[in-house]
């Protein structure tokens, strides 16, 4: 038990910490009345029946999902299930979706999603796909923005904590995945080592993942193996720096315990510069080494409405020690988090989360330093460029704890400050602070629509906050997560709106609605449905026994199932309901729920076939019904299935009876 003195000390410490937080320069206006001006409401009001201007793709954090909001209203439009099962849609429960969550660890029903990244054409979001990383069991998901569904998923081998991910090259040739944790790799003997041998036996990796342009199937093109550090965030070069990639890394102390203290010792960590076009060429020339790296690549086949898994045993690795010119380190103050590239591609902004300044690096100077071999030494054999030689300049005293930076189209940068809880606007060329606004409270990432791209749309900056406290009606110990919308149209940033978010919002991106709306799929054409158990019309509905498996080809249309009476199922059977929704109109899904099914419902879109597996546990007649209100006779949309004892002789039969039709 702790001594009373220690307890008092802790209490004092917490009080002092809170006091600092609430009284730091960024938190001075403490009420909404001092922060919001008169016409804010009209700027976020989207009148009933009209649409928002932007789609906002927000990470779900520990929900494992991707949340979609409209801006400027902050209205939640959809939560797309990516890494976590979703009983509402049947994702991860239906037979068709289960393979999407398969990994070398087996079926993994959850993850921690951090950074949405829109696919790009010419360094501008093109509205086709949204990627997001799974941090815990390293994966990247690809969401198709025609269906707003997870369309593809790849597991990252030789990675542990896929945090520095999934940032895109300017034409989505690749999305990258940098490991947060370095780990020992190779065969069992090489991996079973003392944690204390971190420096000798642990390695980091950054992977370049190629999504096939036509299908969205993902594979690992190559992996660059690095000295053991922690990778945090990354950005592609573009414009003048096209062909390069920049990764922030911390723990260059190479600590393996109590990182809070032991990884905060050095004055500077690194931003790692990778010449990815060179890496691509080396990989093509067969210069890499195939190493063990078993991983899954899962893909949604839209013809069969079913996910398929491909298993790879190896991965191609490039070691920078063998390839001079591939990788350089740049010193960057104090455990950098953000590593952001301005629209022209010339400036790389490091955000040392323990620093009180913002270093801005010049790509031109980086190239000159490389050409002149202007280095201050090496780190595990990789050259470290001289800080002063690659620096454009530093923004002095911008605030406390810079985390992440995005840009507008007018030469300004917007940096989030966690410790001083504010957004600071500054001029990139002049390195001068031009405005600052408080956030409520403790902002993490921020986002300007297109603010990572070559052509920012601007207009707003959104703060994704880490602390909620008193901003909303309290809901017990756990509060809603929160975001805040600011206008950046004038010289001064202006707080317009708070909106609650689901899961912890880490990073987010946004794109104009007009870029995405025309892509929307309204229903799946029943003619094109190639599901092996599709029933194209009630004439194809039936029931078949295959040993212990009973397969039911079933259809839905407003408002009945066919068949809706099934007999001859026995205890010990596995029943598969293959349900085809015959509707061919927008917004007419049907649901399917079976009493006692140990999973979830199905929610079947028009023209789609999905399968629910049910293992009956009781003899008797049991009901199923439609869960999604479909018509005035929705409550009549139901059926019965009779379960008999294992030794029963009831013949297998499925039927629908109509009282007055001559069928």
């Amino acid at each position: 038990m702790k001594s009373p003195i220690k307890i008092a000390g802790a209490a004092l410490g917490i009080t002092a910490g809170l006091f600092l937080l609430m009284n730091s320069p960024g938190c001075r206006p403490t009420t909404t009345t001092t922060a919001v001006t008169g016409d804010a409401a009209s700027k976020v009001y989207v009148k009933p029946g009209t649409h928002d201007e932007f789609y906002n793709f927000v990470s779900g954090g520990f929900s494992g999902q991707l949340a979609i909001y409209g801006l400027p209203s902050g209205r939640l439009l959809r939560e797309v299930p990516v890494f976590s099962v979703d009983p509402e849609s049947g994702y991860g429960y239906s037979e068709e979706t289960k393979p999407m969550l398969m990994t070398t660890h087996g079926f993994i029903p959850w993850d921690d999603s951090h950074h949405p990244e829109l696919s790009q054409t010419n360094a501008v979001p093109d509205g086709r796909w949204c990627f997001i990383n799974g941090n815990n069991t390293p994966r990247i998901g690809l969401i198709d923005l025609g269906t707003f569904r997870t369309h593809s998923m790849i597991e990252i081998p030789n990675s542990a904590g896929n945090h520095s991910s999934p940032f895109s090259t300017p034409n989505t040739e690749y999305v990258i995945a940098g490991t947060r944790f370095s780990v020992p790799m190779g065969d069992d003997a090489s991996r079973d080592v003392s944690i204390k041998s971190y420096k000798e036996n642990f390695k980091g990796t950054v992977s370049f993942i190629k999504p096939e342009p036509e299908t969205g199937k993902m594979s690992i093109a190559f992996q660059i193996v690095t000295p053991p550090v922690n990778f945090d965030l990354a950005r592609t070069g573009k414009g003048v720096s096209d062909g390069w990639f920049f990764f922030s890394c911390y723990n260059t102390e190479q600590a393996y315990s109590l990182l809070e203290v032991n990884a905060s010792q050095r004055d500077k960590d690194f931003i790692m510069c990778v010449n990815w076009k060179l890496a691509e060429q080396l990989a093509k020339e067969g210069k890499g080494k195939k190493v063990a790296g078993k991983h899954y690549s899962n893909w949604w086949n839209h013809n069969t409405h079913t996910a398929e898994s491909t298993i790879y045993e190896e991965v191609l690795q490039l070691d920078p020690k063998d390839h001079p010119g591939l990788v350089y380190f740049m010193p960057c103050p104090k455990s950098p988090h953000g590593c952001d590239v301005n629209p022209t591609g010339e400036y790389i902004v490091g955000s040392g989360k323990l620093a009180a300044l913002i270093p801005v690096f010049s790509f031109k100077k980086i190239q000159e330093a490389i050409a002149k071999n202007d280095v201050e030494g090496d780190f595990a054999g990789i050259p470290v460029l001289k800080y002063e030689s690659v620096l454009h300049g530093e923004v002095k005293k911008p605030g406390l704890g810079p985390l992440h930076t995005e840009f507008d189209a007018n030469g300004n940068a917007y940096t989030s400050f966690f410790v001083s809880s504010e957004i600071v606007k500054w001029n990139v060329e002049k390195l001068e602070v031009v405005d600052r606004v408080p956030t409520y409270y403790s902002i993490g990432h921020l986002m300007v629509p297109g603010g990572n791209s070559a052509k920012p749309w601007g207009k707003y900056v959104v703060a994704y906050n880490k602390i909620t406290k008193d901003r909303y009606l309290p809901t017990g110990p756990e509060l809603t997560q929160s975001a805040q919308l600011y206008s950046i149209e004038g010289d001064k940033m202006e707080l317009l709106l708070d909106f609650p978010t689901t899961g912890e919002p880490h990073y987010a991106q946004a794109a104009p609605a007009d870029l995405i709306k025309p892509r929307e799929v309204k229903f799946f054409k029943i003619e094109e449905n190639q599901h092996p158990y599709v029933a194209k019309g009630e004439k194809e509905t039936r029931v078949e026994r295959k040993g212990k498996e009973v397969h039911i080809w079933m259809t839905t249309i407003r408002s009945h199932f066919s068949p809706d009476n099934i007999e001859g199922v026995k205890l010990g059977d596995e029943v598969y309901f293959h349900v085809t929704n015959l509707e061919q109109d927008w917004d007419v899904p049907h649901g399917f729920a079976m009493k006692g099914a140990a999973n979830a419902e199905l929610l079947i879109m028009p023209g789609e076939t999905q399968t629910l597996k049910w293992i009956p546990t009781k003899v008797g007649v049991q009901p199923f019904y439609c869960t999604d209100f479909c018509s005035a006779l929705h409550q009549e949309m139901q059926g019965y299935i009779r379960v008999s004892p294992a030794n029963s002789n009831v013949p297998l039969n499925a039927y629908t009876v109509s009282v007055d039709a001559e069928l």
């Binding site: 009148k47 029943i526 509707e583």
Partner: protein
């Protein structure tokens, strides 16, 4: 039908129309408004623009090829609710349908159901009777014409 049931039925009809026109996820007559901020006033008007007219349909001798195509579409997209006999399942039976209804009325029910339910008294009467909104089954004009040809054989 017994008179006792009628008041209850009338309530149901009102409910059905509420869902048909407001909630229940049904699309608006002329589709959702396009650009953000656009007033949906045009969509709320009862325009019959775009409906198929008699002049749009040519009918000659029964074309057996079209009949077979129409039958194929019927099996996948229509049979769940319509029998080829005289009686109703969800919607009316199709036997003799082309003698009771004009070709353009049938085509519009298949292809332009939203406008028909907004503007056509006969279509509205059908909904009052069946209570389930006729689904838009995503038929092309050619699909609809082939289904019509199949109907002519019933």
């Amino acid at each position: 039908m017994s008179p006792k049931i009628l008041p209850g039925l009338a309530t149901l009809v009102v409910t059905a129309f509420l869902f048909a026109c407001g909630g229940g996820g049904e699309s608006k007559p002329a589709g959702p408004p396009g650009a953000s901020g656009e007033a949906p006033s045009a969509a709320l008007g009862k325009s019959t623009a775009g409906l198929i007219t008699a002049a749009d349909i040519s009918m000659g001798e029964i074309d057996q090829g079209m009949v077979e195509k129409g039958r194929g579409i019927y099996d996948v997209k229509c049979q769940a609710c319509h029998s080829t006999g005289p009686n109703r399942v969800v919607g009316p039976g199709w036997k003799g349908i082309t003698e009771r209804r004009k070709p353009e009325w049938i085509m519009n029910m298949m292809l332009n159901i939203d406008v028909m339910l907004e503007t056509d008294p006969e279509a509205q009467k059908g909904l009052e009777e069946c209570l389930v909104r006729m689904p838009n089954q995503g038929l092309s004009k050619d699909d609809g014409r082939q289904v019509l040809e199949f109907m002519r054989t019933l």
